[in-house]
């Protein structure tokens, strides 16, 4: 979503953007577990979607410059058009993908993702010489800064800046960014543990033995801490130029560009940062000389402008304006747009959560999973080109070591297996249960609700549909004492591992929390803790995938929902435009202007 809107739920915002529709040829975007499956059979044959490969890079990989895309040309002015301006420039306040993506242009962190080739990425050192060195079983992480990395004023970026940047995230004015590192350094209630550096107090477990070295000492092992540091929220802020709240408006650049002008919600222009050195940066190509950004354009207008491809729009692209449903067939059917189309499934997890406090019988939850009308929902939302049908909790785009499974026969019967559902209901505590289904009052959700109601009622389940206002939807469903049995919710991984999904969506049960199924199982909790502290990241990734299946098998707290597929266009004189599969947004790193 949207909304734009700057929803506190980043995933919800992105998902609401997606609600306007999207598509892909054939089964592009369908999970690899469902080749040409799940309703994709009616779509034209096309190359199957391949989720990205994300591996750990070496010190050699961490050297700049970035690997250029084919045919790259330096120079020129590129224009980006979208609906909304960026909400935050202060890295500490950045969580939403749109802000993080823009952040690549003006700020840098310790680590980041280097594009090796299309769909092939490596976690490398960004400001750091490599992706970090763990010790003490993953409790201690050491990073060394590269030579020659500077702020826009030419002053060197030091380990003191890194330490300061993390410390300031504890300050009361920071309410929006990620909180992984803060909690690992202190406790869950990290704001109480440390008030931030502005009063002169430092965090002892971030050490800076010299100007180039920074050592983080966590309370427990975190084998994937270097992935956490790749989040834009952990990008670096200069200690000497920190203006607290005001920094959000006046950021100091460490990236390839500086903000030349910015009229909020209207326009933004970037010029080159003379103190950025491509030789130190393995991630950002920074090919155009000037970036002009234009806000206030609805998705339909953006699409129409790209289809028309006239004048200055030829050198324009969009970060996130997904082709809306009403333009989708036109965009997909026009062969002349083929080389200007970008298609990628969303990296977010979308779920219909059961309220386990109310739907207590697992047989009923399994029956609903079997009866679930995935194919009909897919049709209601634009067909297989617009929506893929995953079968796992973890998303293939954001899970290293992704392993597909299909517990409820969705590949074979995407329309639902009513007979199997009836059989399970007959074995349950209530063969004719009533389910209160709460849905977000959005135009796209009305037909989906109808489809769900019809399907479940065929199995003998009475569905009471409750429409909730979109502004209060998330607040309503995230109340622990809510009066609903089933509701949609989403979550996006913060790095490609189950560690930023499972412990959140099955984490602490609290009002406003993300554990919307209210799953509170000691075995699951113990297993999550064990995996989180596993110093072997590969073993941990495998274990997350196994836990995904185990939870669905033994508890069934949710129905895995449909996954949107985004279709984006760009102007004919823009090269290197690619959707970042992790962020579901066009990456600025490879963009160039064709001459």
């Amino acid at each position: 979503m949207n909304h734009r809107k700057r929803s506190a739920l980043a995933v919800a915002a992105a998902a609401s953007l997606a609600l306007v529709g999207a598509c892909a040829p054939g089964n592009a975007g369908a999970p690899s577990s469902a080749p040409a499956s799940a309703g994709a059979s009616s779509a034209p044959a096309a190359e199957a979607y391949k989720p990205p490969t994300i591996t750990l890079g070496t010190a050699e990989d961490s050297k700049g410059p970035a690997i250029p895309p084919e045919g790259v040309v330096k120079g020129g002015t590129v224009t980006m058009i979208d609906r909304d301006d960026f909400a935050h420039f202060d890295p500490a306040q950045i969580y939403v993908n749109t802000d993080a993506n823009f952040g690549l242009l003006i700020s840098r962190g310790l680590t980041g993702y280097k594009r090796i080739a299309k769909g092939d990425y490596k976690l490398v050192g960004d400001l750091a010489t490599d992706a970090g060195t763990p010790s003490d079983g993953g409790k201690t992480w050491t990073f060394t800064l590269k030579d020659g990395v500077k702020w826009q004023d030419g002053s060197p970026i030091t380990s003191a800046d890194v330490k300061w940047s993390v410390e300031r995230m504890f300050a009361p004015f920071v309410t929006f960014g990620p909180n992984y590192i803060q909690t690992w350094l202190t406790s869950e209630d990290y704001k109480k543990a440390y008030p931030g550096p502005y009063g002169g107090k430092e965090l002892d477990n971030i050490e800076t033995p010299d100007d180039k070295t920074v050592v983080f000492k966590f309370n427990s092992p975190h084998a994937d801490a270097n992935y956490a540091f790749a989040m834009a929220g952990y990008n670096i802020v200069p200690k000497a130029k920190d203006t607290k709240e005001k920094y959000d408006k006046e950021p100091v650049s460490s990236g390839p560009y500086i903000i030349k002008s910015h009229v909020v919600d209207k326009s933004l222009e970037l010029a080159r940062n003379p103190n950025w050195d491509a030789a130190t940066d393995p991630i950002r190509g920074a090919y155009p000389d000037v970036w002009k950004m234009e806000f206030g354009q609805e998705a339909t207008q953006v699409t129409d402008r790209f289809v028309a491809d006239s004048g200055p729009d030829q050198t324009a692209f969009t970060f996130y304006s997904n082709t809306p449903a009403e333009r989708l067939q036109q965009v997909l059917g026009d062969a002349s747009l083929a080389d200007r189309r970008m298609i990628s499934p969303s990296p977010y997890g979308n779920y219909y959560y059961f309220n386990l406090d109310r739907v207590k019988d697992q047989k009923i939850r399994q029956a609903i999973n079997y009866a679930w009308p995935a194919k009909q929902i897919q049709q209601a939302l634009g067909g297989p080109q617009a929506v893929a049908l995953p079968t796992t909790i973890l998303n293939e785009n954001t899970t290293v070591g992704y392993k597909p499974y299909d517990l409820f026969g969705k590949t074979a019967k995407p329309e639902g297996d009513i007979e199997k559902a009836k059989q399970l209901l007959a074995e349950s505590s209530n063969p004719h249960p009533t389910i209160v289904y709460a849905y977000n009052n959005l135009p796209t959700q009305e037909p989906v609700t109808l489809v769900i109601k019809n399907a479940l009622e065929k199995a003998g389940i009475k569905v009471v549909a409750k429409s909730l206002d979109r502004k209060t939807y998330y607040d309503s469903i995230s109340q622990t004492k809510n009066e609903f049995d089933l509701y949609w919710g989403g979550w996006g991984a913060d790095w490609p591992s189950g560690s930023t999904v499972m412990p959140i969506i099955f984490g602490p049960v609290s009002d406003g929390g993300q554990n919307m199924s209210h799953l509170n199982d000691p075995t699951v909790k113990a297993e999550m803790k064990k995996i989180s502290e596993n110093p072997d990241i590969n073993a941990a990734n495998e274990a997350w995938m196994n836990l995904d299946k185990q939870i669905q098998e033994t508890i069934t707290p949710l129905v895995v929902a449909e996954n949107r597929i985004g279709t984006f266009l760009h102007g004919s004189k823009v090269g290197g435009a690619e959707i970042d599969p992790q962020q579901w947004i066009v990456s600025p790193n490879t963009i160039f202007v064709k001459q």
Partner: protein, 326 residues
């Protein structure tokens, strides 16, 4: 006249305070929590409380309103963000800027859109109405009547979208609508707004044609017009000096209302053409639960209506000597 204007200005100020108060309190009736938008993806209750405190939402509603009202006259100091000099309409935590700055940035777009379109629809509407009245029952009258009926039934989002598709994207007759300050590039300003002006004028012209025609027909049948004709005055003078003057009073009335509404925000027009004016700003403010911006846009809209009403009342006196006498 001065007393009249003073009375009306004081009345307008009272109306604006009442409207602001009602908007402010209504905002808090809505269950949406703006602090939620300032709280991250993981938003524990303590962080949410901190966000609420940072936004000043933990203060009683009355205190918040009085602070807001006081800011208009005396300015305000926003902790950590600096001072907001009078007239301070609040600080938008969504736009990260004092609201007054944003309003000043957006107002020229809406004013340019309004004035340009007004010139077109007023000129064409009144001219067509006069011609139709003078050619009553003739083909020109019928064409004008049918056209105005069609125009009045059109919607901006329909005509605007079609116009964009055919004239901008297909035929490339008009450039992509955009606002360029007239001081920067007068031709760019004109070209960027021409299509929105025309589309807005198509919808509004119809009302003026119909209103002018019907009032003109009535006026042409008045005794004083007949007398003027009987005294040998030329047809042109009769129409322009007598009949038209009588026709102008209702035209000025609806023009004042239209102008006020358009300055308050041509929401659909601005959205259709991607123009960043007051209308779009107000929609975004509602979407983002951005109370300070919402308050300011409501104030601008209400202020525009109130001011235009005062201007219309003053113009009556200029147009109609009977008003001056009374």
């Amino acid at each position: 006249m001065l007393r009249f204007l003073t009375r009306r200005v004081i009345g307008a100020a009272v109306i604006l305070v009442i409207i602001s108060g009602v908007t402010f309190f209504l905002f808090f009736v809505i269950p949406a929590d703006p602090a939620r938008l300032a709280c991250g993806k993981v938003c524990p209750p303590e962080t949410l409380a901190q966000a609420r405190h940072n936004l000043g939402l933990d203060q009683p509603v009355v205190v918040q309103f009085v602070s807001w009202l006081g800011g208009i006259f005396f300015g305000r100091n926003f902790e950590g963000l600096g001072t907001c000099p009078a007239p301070c309409l609040g600080y938008s935590f969504v736009n990260r800027a004092p609201v007054f700055e944003t309003i000043i940035d957006r107002l020229p777009v809406t004013i340019a859109l309004t004035i340009g379109a007004s010139v077109i629809f007023l000129t064409f509407g009144v001219a067509t109405g006069i011609l139709a009245a003078l050619r009553q029952g003739k083909p020109l009258d019928k064409i004008a009547s049918i056209s105005s009926l069609v125009g009045a039934s059109m919607q901006i989002y329909f005509v605007g979208t079609l116009a964009m598709y055919f004239f901008v994207y297909q035929a490339h007759i008009f450039p992509q609508p955009k606002y360029i300050p007239i001081t920067e590039d007068p031709l760019g300003w004109f070209g960027g707004l021409l299509l929105p002006w025309i589309v807005l004028a198509i919808i509004f012209t119809a009302n003026y044609t119909r209103m002018t025609r019907s009032t003109m027909v009535e006026n042409l049948a008045e005794d004083y017009v007949r007398t003027a004709r009987a005294k040998g005055m030329s047809g042109r003078s009769v129409v322009l000096r007598f009949a038209l003057r009588g026709t102008l009073t209702p035209i000025v009335t609806i023009f004042g209302v239209d102008l006020g509404q358009l300055i308050g925000g041509a929401i659909i027009t601005e959205t259709t053409f991607g123009l960043q004016g007051i209308g779009r700003l107000s929609v975004r403010a509602v979407d983002n639960s951005d109370l300070p911006t919402l308050m300011a846009t409501v104030l601008v809209a209400a202020g525009a209506i109130v001011v235009m009403n005062i201007v219309v009342d003053a113009l009556y006196a200029v147009i109609d000597p009977r008003v001056r006498l009374s």
